[in-house]
């Protein structure tokens, strides 16, 4: 994403700030845009009027009417959004972990393909079918990959698990018999800090036998 420089009420640009620091004592008036630096800067200007619209999203087979701003991501809608009747959507399975398309914690399927929901604008998800981890099971019957994750203990803290489950399900829908290398490639967009990878690989292999 382009890094649009913001100058909200500042009399010092980032460049002159960077030049000024690290060279001994400098008295600098540091305005907030500089202070908060690399917080996402592509967002709407603070205080700007932000355009919003009511859109329809199809999530796990159900239609939702939601009011979103142009900058609202699909992930924000799933997790924090409200439909126009005032009900929380509350699909919190997908997680925000890195906030920049690096960890796969927010993985959902859009028209059957995995996407990072933190990187997709909600408005761009109109006219698609969105499947989240909550929508994988068929009622009480878990998807084979979910069952395999449980049996193989492919989860510890479980915070990364929804992302891995969705990515694994997508991988298996495209390749029912992946090799270990193909599993590693298929899940390379997901990160787990607890180190569940070996058992995730086992789970995918074992689920693939049932596909």
């Amino acid at each position: 994403m382009p890094d649009k420089e913001k100058k909200t009420g500042t009399n010092i640009s980032r460049r002159s700030f960077l030049k000024g620091v690290g060279t001994g004592t400098v008295a600098a008036t540091v305005a907030p845009s500089v202070l908060i630096g690399s917080e996402k800067e592509t967002e709407a200007q603070a205080g700007d009027a932000v355009a919003s619209a009511t859109i329809q999203l199809n999530i796990n087979g159900k239609p939702y009417q939601v009011e979103v701003e142009a900058r609202t991501t699909l992930l924000t809608v799933l997790r924090d959004g409200m439909d126009t009747s005032g009900k929380n959507i509350d699909l919190t399975g997908a997680k925000l972990i890195c906030d920049r398309g690096e960890c796969g914690g927010c993985t959902v399927m859009v028209d059957g393909k995995t996407v990072y929901a933190c990187m997709m604008l909600a408005m761009d998800a109109q006219d698609t079918q969105i499947t989240t981890v909550e929508g994988l099971a068929d009622g009480d019957d878990l998807h084979p990959i979910q069952e395999a994750f449980i049996q193989h203990d492919a989860l510890m803290c479980g915070f990364c698990t929804p992302g891995f489950v969705v990515s694994s399900a997508a991988l298996l829908s495209e390749n029912t018999k992946p090799t270990l290398e193909e599993i590693k490639v298929g899940l390379s967009g997901n990160t787990c800090r607890c180190g569940t990878y070996p058992f995730i690989f086992d789970a995918v292999k074992s689920a693939s036998k049932k596909m």
Partner: protein
């Protein structure tokens, strides 16, 4: 004397049992703190400093306060206060949406007068470096010197000597769920907090103190938690401030740290640099060890490390200092001080062995006082195929060269008193186990169910386990130091045994048998001397009527064991053209005591190995000396292991006795040394600074050629 019984008698304990929270976690139903959505909830954000060292001259909140949707803005630093590192908290806001909160913190104006700073140890230790701590001359703590034996006499006996400098950089925890809380005031006197924490009672007590409330008017809940690794004790600044925001606004507020803040202020593993000179006798004994080292834990202290490590060194002198830099503070991280110490020591061991012309494993056998590890060496060497290693390091043919190495570790993990628990049997046959511990991903919830189910002849899924809530007032310690299972399991076991005893007493008249003669079978209770006398579980509990049985337990030292040993072997392949290292296989032989659940124990070992691998090959916090900022406070430039880095891992649960111990930390220790030694065995050039990245490999190979 209490005991866990024989393995042959165990139906559940020691078996591989899927965790109880599995279903909720794979369906997205599991609610972490980050997922809590309370009615009317606001979103909190913190404005943090981007400068490393400054005096605060002015703070103006007015524009932020005026932004529509903003409900509260609070100032955290006062004018005249000092900022001492990037990421330090300046102000906090609560707003109707997270996006508005983000906008609002941009509208806060902060004027600072920058001060000179140092963010690397080299800079901090330079002569004429800016002094950043009034109490430490030269930015260094007083040296901590320890001596044992006679070091000069030791060196006189030495046939060979090695002198080397080993370094490990700062590593950050990278909890995937960042630190954070949701705070909600029921009224002015009652606070509920959902906390991403390793210690619900620690958070409760801290908040009660901060708000001057009796402890029983603060309730802390941690149903599920997305990783802590030592960094999540206490509410932190963010926890206290979110409670304040909730109080001011009269609404629930959620405040989770950003990924960037998580790197900057939520803790890290200190760095280590040690200069060692060590000697060994011609018959292979390390005889003298002289170490001078330092590390940084940020602006605070706490940069300790183990040196020497696990092997017996009779004559030694060690000197350590902490170096202060203008960077966020360290916190305990998975086996604090051990992995870095183990890397240095295991590298040194191999270097000494080579000088002696000895097999490094033989050299370890001579110097390792642990009988457990002696047995583990044999087992691990077989598993990895130790005989396949290059007898001449680097002698392999071709561009891609393989090597094998070994490393060792030691941990406590014996648990302690301080856990209260209740096991309740209801008349309808349902069973509940309640305690104030928290399941941070280790699987303690399932371990509790297994222990109770074993005691009652039921299945783990029959047991309702309630943990992660201070509400019931059953205290337990924080989940740190690999103490959870050895602290909690004995209490659960004795509580369940007491409840069973009570149940037996109640049904003794009906079965017409002495209590001592009664046993549980599969959902039944029977009499040993007369097998015709049995009663089904639900019928037995049906006798209880309105009086459920509810028993507490006692911690029993006999049920647990302290001190665990571990050994790991690594096989790596190094591409001598690109410098890329792939770890082919790790054999982890981990002393586990009695593994209540073998499946989750294996998960713990895998996880430890993978974190150790990250530290060995990938992870490093980069500080920019020019700007005072961290350069890789994100997940693409700060690299943690992903699928491509994962080797074949053979996790061996080395359970030689029937007493429980903790294994959360120990498996991450030996990995570093094993990998570093394997890399040396592959390429014949030693890299003494972690992480061993391709550029270091290529530099080392080039230097060797030159």
């Amino acid at each position: 004397m209490a005991s866990w019984g024989e393995a042959s008698e165990s139906r559940l304990i020691g078996k591989r049992i899927p965790r109880l929270s599995g279903r909720d976690k794979v369906t997205g139903k599991a609610k972490y703190t980050f997922d809590i959505n309370r009615p009317g909830m606001l979103y909190g954000r913190i404005l943090r400093s981007e400068v490393a060292h400054a005096n605060v001259v002015g703070v103006d909140l007015s524009e932020a306060e005026a932004l529509p949707g903003v409900k509260a803005v609070i100032q955290i630093v006062e004018v005249g206060n000092k900022i001492r590192y990037q990421g330090q908290e300046i102000a906090a806001v609560a707003a109707e949406t997270d996006d508005i909160a983000k906008d609002a913190i941009r509208l806060i104006r902060v004027d600072v007068e920058e001060l000179p700073y140092v963010v690397t140890e080299e800079d901090a230790m330079r002569e004429n470096a800016p002094q950043i701590r009034d109490d430490w001359a030269g930015n260094q703590s007083n040296p901590n010197v320890r001596e044992e034996g006679d070091i000069n006499a030791g060196f006189e006996q030495a046939a060979v000597e090695v002198e080397a400098t080993y370094h490990t950089p700062v590593q950050t925890h990278v909890c995937l769920e960042t630190h954070g809380n949701v705070a909600e005031w029921e009224d002015e006197q009652n606070l509920t907090v959902w906390a991403s924490t390793q210690g619900v009672f620690g958070v409760r007590d801290d908040l009660a103190g901060s708000f001057n409330l009796p402890v029983n008017q603060v309730r802390v809940i941690t149903e599920h938690m997305g990783g802590g690794f030592g960094s999540k004790f206490g509410p932190g600044v963010e926890g206290r401030r979110v409670a304040e925001l909730a109080r001011i606004t009269g609404r629930p507020v959620k405040l989770m740290l950003t990924r960037k803040a998580e790197h900057l202020v939520a803790g890290n593993r200190p760095s280590m640099t040690q200069h060692v000179r060590a000697g060994a006798t011609s018959d292979g004994r390390i005889i003298a060890y002289d170490m001078k080292g330092h590390g940084t834990g940020g602006i605070s202290s706490g940069a300790g490390f183990q040196a020497p490590y696990v092997y017996h060194v009779p004559n030694r002198r060690t000197e350590r200092v902490n170096v202060a830099v203008n960077v966020g503070n360290q916190r305990a991280m998975r086996a604090p001080g051990h992995p870095q110490g183990a890397f240095a020591m295991d590298s040194l061991m191999d270097e000494l062995a080579e000088k002696l012309g000895m097999n490094p494993l033989e050299f370890r056998r001579i110097n390792d006082p642990s009988e457990v590890r002696q047995a583990q060496y044999t087992l691990g060497a077989q598993e990895i195929g130790w005989h396949r290693r290059n007898s001449v390091p680097g002698a392999g043919k071709g561009v891609k060269k393989r090597g094998i190495g070994v490393g060792s570790g030691q941990w406590g993990g014996g648990g302690g008193r301080g856990t209260q628990a209740r096991v309740t049997i209801n008349a309808d046959g349902t069973v509940e186990a309640v305690t104030g511990t928290q399941d941070i991903g280790t699987g303690i919830r399932t371990a509790i169910a297994i222990i109770v189910a074993e005691e009652f002849g039921l299945a783990p899924t029959d047991i309702t386990v309630k943990v992660g809530d201070s509400g019931p007032g059953l205290r337990s310690g924080g989940s740190g130091g690999s103490q959870t299972t050895p602290s909690v399991a004995p209490v659960i076991k004795t509580a369940a045994a007491a409840a069973k005893q009570k149940l037996f007493e109640r049904i003794a008249p009906q079965l017409n048998a002495p209590v001592g003669d009664m046993r549980v079978g599969n959902r039944t209770i029977y009499v040993v001397s007369d097998r015709t006398k049995t009663i089904k579980w639900e019928l037995a509990t049906g006798q209880l009527g309105m009086e459920s049985i509810s028993e507490g337990g006692e911690w029993d030292e006999e049920l647990r064991q302290d001190r665990v040993a571990g050994t790991q072997f690594a096989e790596v392949e190094v591409d001598t053209e690109t410098g890329a290292i792939s770890v082919i296989k790790i054999v982890a032989v981990q002393d586990c005591g009695l593994a209540i659940n073998r499946l989750t124990t294996e998960s713990q070992i895998n996880g430890g190995v993978i974190m150790g691998l990250g530290q060995a090959l990938l992870e490093e916090r980069f500080m920019d000396a020019q700007t005072g900022r961290m350069l890789n406070a994100n997940l693409e430039d700060y690299k943690v292991p992903g699928t491509f880095e994962i080797p074949e891992i053979k996790s061996i649960v080395f359970d030689t006795h029937r007493k429980v111990t903790g294994v959360g930390e120990p498996p991450c220790i030996p990995t570093l040394g094993a990998i570093a030694n394997a890399v040396y065995n592959a390429i014949g050039v030693r890299i003494r600074s972690l992480p061993i990245t391709p550029d270091k490999v290529l530099d080392a190979l080039a230097a060797e050629k030159a």
